[in-house]
Subunit: 449 residues, 2 copies
C-alpha cells in the first residue's frame, strides 16, 4: 500500500465508547495521519436507531442500522466493534475476521466468553484482532505483555481491573459507608454496567483475567474454570479490620504460573493487600496491574481503566497499529497473539507445553474470616478446634462483643493454607450451632518484590 | 524475507548489560524464535579485551575487538550498541545507521547528547534506532508513548528516572542518614555510574528527559537548555521537614507543554511530591513515570529502571521489534519516532509547529528554601522583607534554634512564583549578612489528577 493512500474505518456501535472514539479520532486525525503517513476516514457508523438525535455531529450519510454490512464491506479494512454484549458483537466480529479484516474491539465479555472461537476465525480468514481497550482501558498493558516484556515469562500477574469495584471499596474505606449506599451512588454516577452484577460479582474482572492469561500463557481459561468471588458481602467493618492488620482490600485478578509443575492458577476475588504494596495505593476508579517477569522483575501500570475517554485512547492506538500492519503488507511478520504461540505460518514450532490448570483445592493463600457467633463461654474454643482439625493455623483473632443482642463478631486470620482445607473448615463451621451466619471468607495476598 | 529465515545479531559491548543480554537472550531464544517465526543468532560479540576470562560461556570464535566491523558487517542486520559512553558508541551507532542497520541501544547519554545527529544518520542511511532500554530500563515507557498512547498529546510527563538518586533519597529518609554516608553505601553496592556526578547531579536524568521530550513533542532539548539540579545538598533534615509538610523529596524529570502558547518547559531537579501522589511511593532503586495525556488522563509506570536484567529485558524486546520490522520488509509502514513527525517518505506533512522553549525565568513552582541564619532579633523580618520585595508570598515558616552556636535553621515554603522572582530573591538573600550560607532551593510539585 502506498503511503498517502486512504484507509477506511468502520464503527459498529455508537454508545458511550463509540461516541468517544468518534470525537477523539476526529480531533486527533490530522496528527495520526501525519504520523502514520496515510489518510484515514471513518466511512460508516452502524447504530441501533438511525433517526435518534445525537450530540456528536455525524453526517447522516454515514449512519446505517446494519452493523454486519459495515463489518463485511470490502472497502473497509478496519472495523471497530464497539457494540458491547456478546450477541451481535460476536456475529459482527466473526464475520469481519473471517473476511480478513482488522478488527479493533473493547469487548472483554466477548473475548472472555468466546476468545478461542474468535481467534480461530481470525486464523481461518486471515483477519487480525486488536483488543488493547478490552483490559484496563487506557493503560497499554496488552502491548506491554506482548511486546515490551516479550523476553519474560510471567510467574505472577495481579491486577485491579474493575474501576467500579475499586471505587466502591475505596469509598467504603474512606467514609465507612455501607456497600449498598456506595453502590447506589456509583449507579447514579453511571459507573456500573447495565447489569451491575457483572462488576460487583467479579465476572467483568474474570473476562479480563482470561484475556491476560491467554496473552501471558497461551491458554484460554474460561471464567467457569476460575475461582470468582465478588465484593458484595464486604462491610466497612471488614475494611477497618483489614486496615488494623495493615491491609487494604482490593478485588484482584491473580494469575500465578508455577514453571516447575507447569500449572496455572487463575482467580478473581477480594484480596487483603499489604498497605506498603503499590496496588494498595490504587484508589477510586483507577486500575492497576502488577506484572512479575522472570527477567525484569515486577513492573506496575496504573491509570483509568474504563470510561469513554480512556477507552477511546486505547481504541485509537489499536487503529494506529492496524494501519501500520496494513501498510507493511498485512499479516506477515506479525507475532502471534499469545507469548507461547508460534508466528503465523512460521515453521518454528512452539517450544513449551501449554500449562495445566492447578486444581482449585490446591491453590494456597492466607485467609481472613469474619463471622457472627453467639456471645457465650466456649465459642472461641469450638471455632478454633474446627480450624485445628483441618490443620489450618490461626495468625490473629479479633473478637468484638454485642454486634447483635447476645452475639459477637469474630474475625480470624490464618497462615497460608489451601482451598481444600479452608473449604472443609467452612463446611464444619456451618455445623457449629454457635456460628450464626455464613462466614465471610477473604484471601490474604503475598507479593513478590 | 521468508519466515524460517535466520537473522544475525551483533553485540557491541560485553559489560554488565552486554552479559545480561547474552545470558537472557540465550535462555529465551527458543521462545522468541517460535513467537517471531525466525531463527535468531548472535554471530559476533565485540569486546575490549578478547583474551579476558569471562563468566559467560561465549564461544571464542564469536569474539572480536573490532566493534566497527560488527556494526558494518553486511551479514548482520541487527546491531546492539552496549558500549556505554559517547565516543566509540557514537562512531559505531552512526556507522551502522548510515548503512541501513537496525540499531538497538541502551545508551541514554549518547541520545541525550547527540540525538539529532544519530537520527539524521538513520534517515540518511535508512537505518532504524530502537532505544527502549535507554529510559527507565525494563519499563516499556517508550513504546507506551509512541504507540499505546498515540492518540494523546502530553501536557505533563513527570518521572523518577535515576534509581541511584531514588535509592539515596529513600535511605536518607528512612534512616535519617547523611547524603555522604548513603552515597558511600550505594557505591559499594555498585549502584552508581563510574562517574557518580552523572547520577547525583542530574545529568543522567536530563539525558533521559531529552529522549522523552523528543518522543512526546518532536523536539530535541539539550540538557544545557534545561534547569538541571542534583540531590547532593539535600540533608536528612530537609527530608524530615518535607515529611512534616506532607511531602516526599524525589529527583524528577518534569516536561510540561502549554498547548495554548506552544511552549515547553523541561527541568530536572528535586521536587517535593505530595505524599498521596503515586510517585511519592516509588522507593529504593525503582523508577516511576507519570504521563498525562489529554485524552487518557494520567497513567503511571513503575519498575526497576536499571541494572543488568531489567535493561536486558528491554534490549531483547527491541530486538524482537527489529525482527518484526525486518520481516515486514523494513522501514515501510513504521511510524516516525516522534509523535509530531510524519511517516518516513510519507506525503502527509506534520500538522503542528514544534514547540518553543519557555524562558527559564517564567517557569513556575512553589519553592522550599532552607538556610542558616544568625540567631538574633530581627532576622526573620529582614529575610521576609526580601521575599516581599520580589512579591514572593510565603506559605510556611519553620525556625529551629542552635544548629550551630548562635545560628538557627530557617525553612520557608512559598506559594507559586517563578524562577525570575526566586532568582532575584536568592541574590538579595546573599547580601543579607545574617544569612550565613547559600540557601538550599527545592521546588514544590503540583500534579494533575
Amino acid at each position: 500500500m502506498n503511503s498517502g493512500a486512504l484507509i477506511n474505518i468502520g464503527l459498529c456501535g455508537l454508545g458511550t465508547v463509540g461516541q468517544g472514539v468518534w470525537e477523539h479520532f476526529t480531533a486527533s486525525r490530522a496528527r495520526l495521519e501525519s504520523r502514520l503517513g496515510v489518510r484515514l476516514e471513518i466511512v460508516r457508523v452502524a447504530v441501533r436507531d438511525v433517526g435518534k438525535r445525537r450530540e456528536a455531529a455525524i453526517p447522516a450519510g454515514l449512519l446505517t442500522a446494519d452493523a454486519l454490512a459495515v463489518a463485511t464491506d470490502p472497502a473497509i479494512p478496519i472495523v471497530c466493534e464497539l457494540l458491547g454484549g456478546t450477541a451481535a458483537a460476536r456475529t459482527v466480529t466473526l464475520a469481519a475476521l473471517e473476511r480478513g479484516r482488522m478488527v479493533v474491539t473493547a469487548n472483554k465479555a466477548l473475548l472472555g466468553e468466546h476468545g478461542p472461537e474468535i481467534l480461530a476465525a481470525a486464523r481461518r480468514g486471515g483477519g487480525r484482532l486488536f483488543f488493547e481497550a478490552s483490559v484496563a482501558g487506557g493503560l497499554p498493558i496488552i502491548k506491554a505483555l506482548r511486546e515490551g516484556l516479550v523476553a519474560n515469562r510471567f510467574p505472577r500477574i495481579a491486577g485491579i481491573l474493575n474501576g467500579t469495584c475499586n471505587y466502591i471499596l475505596t469509598r467504603m474505606a474512606q467514609e465507612r459507608a455501607s456497600y449498598a449506599e456506595v453502590l447506589a451512588g456509583a449507579k447514579r454516577l453511571g459507573y456500573t454496567e447495565a447489569d451491575e452484577a457483572l462488576d460487583v460479582e467479579g465476572a467483568d474482572t474474570a473476562h479480563k483475567a482470561a484475556i491476560l492469561t491467554f496473552l501471558a500463557h497461551g491458554r484460554w481459561v474460561h471464567p467457569s474454570e476460575m475461582i470468582v468471588e465478588g465484593i458484595s458481602r464486604i462491610t466497612p467493618e471488614d475494611l477497618a479490620h483489614a486496615a488494623t492488620l495493615g491491609y487494604a482490600i482490593k478485588l484482584l485478578a491473580q494469575i500465578d504460573r508455577d514453571f516447575a509443575t507447569n500449572q496455572l492458577a487463575v482467580r478473581v476475588h477480594p484480596v487483603l493487600v499489604p498497605c506498603g504494596h503499590v496496588l494498595a495505593g490504587v484508589s477510586g476508579v483507577f486500575n492497576g496491574v502488577s506484572v512479575t517477569g522472570d527477567i525484569v522483575g515486577t513492573t506496575t501500570y496504573i491509570g483509568r481503566g474504563a470510561g469513554r475517554d480512556a477507552t477511546a485512547s486505547a481504541v485509537i492506538a489499536d487503529i494506529a497499529d492496524a494501519v501500520a500492519l496494513l501498510r507493511s503488507g498485512g499479516a506477515a511478520g506479525r507475532p502471534r497473539e499469545a507469548l507461547n504461540g508460534n508466528a503465523e505460518g512460521g515453521p518454528v514450532p512452539p517450544v513449551e507445553e501449554p500449562p495445566g490448570l492447578a486444581p482449585r483445592a490446591a491453590i494456597r493463600s492466607g485467609f481472613y474470616l469474619r463471622m457472627t457467633v453467639r456471645d457465650e463461654p466456649g465459642v472461641l474454643a469450638r471455632v478454633a478446634t474446627v480450624f485445628a482439625r483441618q490443620r489450618v493455623s490461626l495468625a490473629s483473632v479479633i473478637q468484638r462483643g454485642a454486634v447483635q443482642p447476645c452475639a459477637a463478631s469474630l474475625v480470624l486470620t490464618t497462615h497460608e493454607s489451601d482451598e481444600a482445607a479452608m473449604g472443609a473448615t467452612l463446611a464444619q463451621l456451618g455445623r457449629v450451632s454457635a456460628v450464626l451466619d455464613q462466614p465471610l471468607l477473604l484471601r490474604i495476598g503475598r507479593f513478590p518484590e
